[in-house]
């Protein structure tokens, strides 16, 4: 992967993101992936003068993750999207849509976690 990757933990993720902001970095977005054994991997992508930096956080899906939407307001949408797709809670989310940003109550399964298998429809 292009760019520098820094590993962070639940305790220092907000502080590291704050450092990035003070350094003048622009938050591009987050990416999420299934890190196995009920864990979610989140990559925070930053950009400054076309140079990429990524913070990697691997956390349990059932514990709340500190929100960085207080540091970067633009993290609000992507954190709500992750809430929709993975059913992960964020602590201190500025505007919490409570899993209704993209999904409606009819969708009871969690799309990107393992309990939904898609296949042909009739």
């Amino acid at each position: 992967m292009k760019g520098k990757v820094i590993d962070v933990t639940l305790d220092n993720v907000v502080g590291e993101v704050m450092n990035m902001k003070n350094d003048g970095q622009r938050l591009v977005s987050f990416s999420t992936y299934n890190a196995g054994e009920g864990k979610i991997g989140i990559l925070y992508h930053f950009d400054k003068a076309l140079e990429n930096t990524h913070l990697r956080l691997v956390a349990d899906m059932d514990k709340p993750i500190p929100s960085v939407s207080g540091v970067y307001f633009s993290a609000l949408l992507v954190e709500n999207e992750i809430r929709d797709q993975w059913d992960v809670k964020f602590d201190g989310l500025v505007l919490d849509f409570n899993r209704t940003l993209l999904l409606d109550p009819e969708v009871t399964k969690v799309p990107l976690a393992n309990n939904l298998k898609i296949g042909p429809k009739n």
Binding site: M1, K2, G3, K21, G24, R26, L27, V28, S29, S31, T32, Y33, N34, L43, H45, L50, N52, H54, Y72, F73, S74, L76, L77, V78, L95, T100, L101, L102, L103, D104, P111, L112, L116, I118, G119
Partner: protein
């Protein structure tokens, strides 16, 4: 002062796509805007689990019909990076030609819709009339007017013959001439200026902090364009990002207007430097384990793909961050303290593509 709540969308005459904004209004002044998305959400990132990595090109092209070619190119480039494939130079430049033609048609489409948003229907018709020439080029060279499906992993599947290249160049001259005829109207017309100058202002610092992308960022004076990275064929071309400093709706429309002319120039450069050679390399095997992060410049701004391979023909994870997704927080910052009548103009000024945003 009593607060009135006015719903904007999901079905609204100026919006071609469904998005909903809840506007809290005092008198005629908007105080707060809360977005509601999800009307176009399909969940296509999950499709990578049942479609193989070649079939996913078709899906990625349909993330958004307006920038389909660039989505396809971005996905192909990401997979090529993951698999360590170097594609032929001719394929790189052919991708640039179709990408830039796509950018021109997207910007012309937007300029028309923007004119329609402030009620200038004749200008809307003019821009869309010019755009049809580009659609003809797409149809003649790739087989489809909107979804230009030329990308395959390892190169492109269609070629441009010398006759076609000459024809594209002559059509581009006509397009450029016709677009320049509208320049004075778009940039200097009194009525248009009263609707756009000083409306929806975003400063350089705000745009950077809120993570704006593309013409929204460049309209606020930040010279950042992903094409500066020189990915694919852009490494062979001379390129300078288009920047305006005012940060209002006028600046954003002017950036897009100038980019139409710049894209015509890039197509000409690419055609003049087009080498002879193969169109694609043979691809063996599946994407290996690993992850790749790739960014390209779409008509609406920076688009990011994150792909995780696992050694099988299906990908582990495909994550797409599209430009409009990044431009919604800036939009929410622009709307407060604007007049209700200006809301459609401001919403359109970020060039919203909701089907990109929600995937």
């Amino acid at each position: 002062m009593a607060t009135t709540v006015i719903p904007f969308g999901p079905q609204h005459p100026v919006l071609p796509e469904p998005v909903h904004l809840t506007l809290k209004v005092e008198d005629e002044i908007v105080k707060e805007a809360i977005p509601a998305l999800g009307y176009v959400h399909r969940g296509l990132e999950k499709l990578c689990e049942i479609r193989d990595f070649n079939q996913m090109i078709t899906v990625c092209e349909r993330v958004c019909g307006i920038c389909s070619m660039i989505h396809g190119a971005c996905y192909s480039q990401s997979i090529e990076e993951l698999m360590g494939i170097e594609i032929p130079d001719r394929a790189k430049l052919l991708r640039v030609i179709w990408s830039e033609l796509h950018r021109m048609h997207s910007h012309l489409l937007w300029l028309g819709l923007f004119a329609d948003a402030f009620g200038f229907e004749a200008l809307f018709m003019q821009f869309w009339k010019i755009r049809e020439r580009i659609m003809d080029i797409n149809e003649a060279t790739a087989g489809s007017r909107v979804i230009v499906s030329v990308n395959i992993i390892g190169g492109v599947r269609a070629d441009l013959s010398p006759d076609q290249l000459r024809w594209i160049l002559s059509e581009l001259d006509i397009v450029e001439k016709e677009v320049r005829e509208l320049q004075d109207t778009m940039m200097n017309d009194y009525t248009i200026k009263t609707r756009t100058v000083g409306i929806g202002v975003m400063t350089k610092a705000q745009a950077w902090e809120l993570g704006a992308a593309g013409p929204t960022l460049r309209g606020s004076g930040v010279a950042q364009d992903m094409r500066q990275q020189g990915y694919g064929g852009y490494a062979f071309l001379d390129f300078e990002p288009v920047v305006e400093t005012a940060g209002d709706c006028w600046a954003r429309s002017t950036v897009r207007f100038r980019e139409v002319l710049q894209s015509a120039d890039l197509v000409r450069q690419a055609i003049s430097k087009l080498p002879e050679g193969e169109l694609a390399v043979k691809v063996k095997g599946n994407p290996p384990e690993g992850e790749v992060y790739h960014r390209v410049e779409q008509p609406r701004g920076e688009c990011m793909y994150y792909i995780r391979g696992n050694g099988t023909k299906n990908l582990d994870r495909l994550r797409i961050r599209t430009p409009t997704f990044a431009n919604i927080p800036p939009l929410l910052a622009m709307l407060p303290e604007c007049e209700l009548a200006d809301v459609p103009v401001i919403v359109l000024s970020i060039d919203p593509c909701i089907s990109c945003t929600e995937r």
